[in-house]
């Protein structure tokens, strides 16, 4: 019976709260949507957005993770809107290409401004939505292409290559691999031995690499779709003493990868620079929401430098050991000047 009373109590509390109205305020609420925080790069993104939010005194923020799950994302943003109404605005690393449309529609319906990073669906254009402020991303395709190209040059344009794929069904995995394949077309003498799905997992990548090394003794390079898999491959190589001899790359630019590049184990990685992406993404959305700015070129490709032995030191200093300092009022800063060149490459 005691439980029963508790139940009654709870009911009473609820009823009393129906009447209670929440206080109106003049703050703006930034919803930061990232895939998760266990991954370093995603955390970097979130921190970028937080950097911005803290640079503005009338902005409060909340970080929400989607685990790359469309449902969770939609639920989360609706919850946030339910909480803050029109005074909410979003910066999102959208869970999947497909869901970008839902995201746009939900925000449009609720009249909430947002900037989108990375994926966006075919035919989803900021211009079609009043509240779709901008779309920013370093191009996964480009990253895949550049890293692959760099590897192939290192091995002199010929030899056996294996590839480690990300999680099946995730777009960044698919696009990066597409970039890799595009590069493959440019190098006819490169022999593609095998591709395996290591699901961003260091352990699996290590196992696959070991098996490859057992099956073929003359592998020249291993292309990995992200840093953790690259690191896994390198661990396998270390056991054979082949680290640094067989070239491996990564993408994302996590601390471990920077170290590995510095140590000469990893040939290259790409610094996607989450700070810049989300920091400025948030800045764009803020300008639109608060000051009603609109932007004539809302689809923005950002600068994602290829990290190699030469430039690793300076970038590590900026991204890992410290946090970059950005002037979030200079909205032109993040824009990458020449990205059209890649567009026809994709269509090719």
């Amino acid at each position: 019976m005691k439980k029963f009373l508790v139940l009654m109590l709870a009911l009473a509390m609820m009823l009393s709260l129906f009447t209670a109205a929440s206080a109106q305020d003049d703050k703006w609420y930034l919803g930061i949507m990232v895939h998760g925080l266990e991954n370093e790069f995603w955390a970097q993104e979130a921190n970028g957005a937080i950097l911005f939010a803290e640079s503005k005194e009338n902005v409060e923020y909340q970080v929400m993770v989607t685990d790359g799950d469309d449902n969770k994302e939609n639920q989360a943003i609706r919850d946030f809107i339910a909480k803050h109404g029109q005074r909410a605005f979003f910066i999102t690393d959208v869970a999947s290409t497909a869901n970008s449309v839902n995201f746009a529609e939900i925000c449009e319906e609720a009249g909430v401004y947002f900037t989108m990073l990375w994926q966006h669906a075919e035919g989803l254009e900021p211009k079609d939505f009043k509240h779709f402020v901008a779309h920013m991303s370093p191009d996964d395709f480009v990253s895949g292409y550049n890293t692959a190209k760099y590897l192939f040059d290192l091995i002199g344009g010929k030899g056996k290559v294996c590839a480690l794929y990300g999680v099946q069904g995730e777009d960044s995995a698919a696009n990066r691999y597409a970039g890799f394949q595009a590069a493959l077309k440019d190098y006819p003498e490169i022999e593609m031995v095998d591709m395996q799905v290591a699901s961003w997992s260091q352990d699996q990548a290590m196992n696959f690499t070991q098996t490859w090394l057992a099956a073929h003794d003359d592998i020249a390079a291993i292309w990995a779709a992200n840093d953790t898999m690259g690191l896994g491959a390198i661990e396998a190589l270390k056991l054979e003493g082949k680290n640094g001899k067989v070239f491996v790359n990564g993408v994302d630019g996590i601390a471990a990868a920077f170290d590995s590049v510095a140590a000469g184990d990893m040939a290259s990685t790409v610094a996607n620079n989450g700070y810049l992406l989300m920091g400025y993404g948030a800045a764009y959305a803020y300008e639109a929401a608060v000051n009603g700015k609109t932007f004539d070129r809302p689809v923005i490709k950002t600068n994602a430098p290829l990290i190699t032995a030469e430039n690793v030191a300076e970038y590590k200093a900026m991204f890992i050991d410290g946090q970059p300092e950005y002037n979030f009022n200079d909205l032109a800063f993040p824009v990458l000047s020449d990205y059209e060149s890649f567009e026809e490459l994709k269509n090719k």
């Binding site: 029963f4 709870a10 469309d70």
Partner: protein, 326 residues
């Protein structure tokens, strides 16, 4: 031992009994209560609509797997089945129109038949069979979707819009899945199938000797389950207006935990659709509530785990000490 059955009891009615039997509602009320204390807007129409939108597709899946759990088996493949259904529906609805729903339901039936006959006829452990089925269907979903999620072209999205349109303030798919819940309730309480499932779950040997068609019933159980999963998958496709090959990867644990949260014992022979309904509502309330309470995402897993344990502990049907919990 099930659901609200208390009210239909003749004669021996007592508030205490009533409470014991239906305490599983308590957890849901508490969860919702707590979160609405933290943030009153938790119960605003918009937020309720939002939750209902998430609850709708999960319901048929949870109800489906509920039956498998009542029968003492388990099905880990529902997520993957949902993925396949979602992918195919999302990819081809623009060509076939809504016939795709029928096809996908049929697909669910087939998937269930495969599981069921492997388990009931070949007598293989459901855990392993469905685990393998899971990897097979997952691969299928990936292959069909060519590895990435695709949205229905913006021009054609109107085709599926009706699913998320509001009817009496709530999305159509919610009403659909509520209808399905009622259907499941009828199956559970009113049909030979439902009753036999519980008999098998409680003591298969005895049920068999008493003339229950154990093999047939078991197969049907898994058919129910997979069909529910397929319907869930379709709903996701219509709700997200896209085909997502990874949609089911977390769903099967979601479904199973919501059944457990309703207080169903996994030892078989007990449980009810109503408990499942409560379970699903609670699960969604938890995740929505944490968003609205602004819980630090780093803490989410921890909080969810704890709430799950607590809720299951409160809700579990006490089978008496004699009952062995595995």
């Amino acid at each position: 031992m099930r659901g609200f059955s208390m009210w239909k009891r003749d004669g021996d009615f007592s508030l205490n009994e009533l409470f014991k039997r239906n305490s599983f509602i308590l957890s849901a009320v508490l969860i919702i209560g707590v979160f609405s204390v933290i943030n009153p807007k938790f119960l605003s129409l918009y937020s309720l609509q939002n939750m209902s939108l998430e609850i709708a597709p999960l319901l048929p899946m949870a109800c489906g797997i509920g039956f498998v759990l009542y029968s003492g088996s388990i099905d880990l493949s529902i997520g993957a089945v949902a993925s396949v259904a979602c992918v195919i529906a999302g990819t081809y609805v623009t060509e076939t129109g809504h016939w795709i729903i029928l096809y996908m339901v049929l697909f669910g039936v087939v998937a269930g038949l495969i599981n069921g006959s492997l388990i009931a006829v070949l007598k293989l452990p459901s855990f392993i069979v469905t685990l393998c089925a899971q990897s097979v269907w997952r691969a299928m979903a990936i292959i069909i979707s060519k590895g990435s999620s695709n949205t229905i072209p913006i021009k054609q999205r109107w085709i599926v819009n009706w699913a998320t349109d509001k009817f009496l303030d709530f999305p159509v798919i919610l009403w659909i899945s509520l209808a399905l819940v009622i259907l499941c309730l009828v199956i559970e309480r009113k049909t030979e199938l439902g009753k036999s499932i519980f008999a098998i779950g409680a003591n298969e040997k005895a049920a068999r000797l008493a003339g229950v068609h154990t093999i047939k019933i078991k197969i049907l159980t898994f058919v129910l389950c997979s069909t529910g999963a397929a319907i869930g998958g379709i709903m996701y496709a219509y709700k997200l207006k896209s085909s997502v090959p990874t949609i089911g990867d977390n769903l099967y644990m979601m479904a199973i935990s919501s059944v457990a949260l309703g207080g169903t014992l996994f030892s078989g022979g007990s449980g009810s659709v109503l408990r499942t309904l409560i379970g699903v509502i609670s699960v969604m309330a938890i995740s929505s509530g944490m968003n609205m309470a602004g819980v630090n995402p780093l803490w989410k897993d921890v909080v969810f785990g704890c709430v799950l344990i607590a809720a299951v502990a409160i809700n579990s049907e006490k089978g008496g000490r004699s009952l062995i919990i595995k």
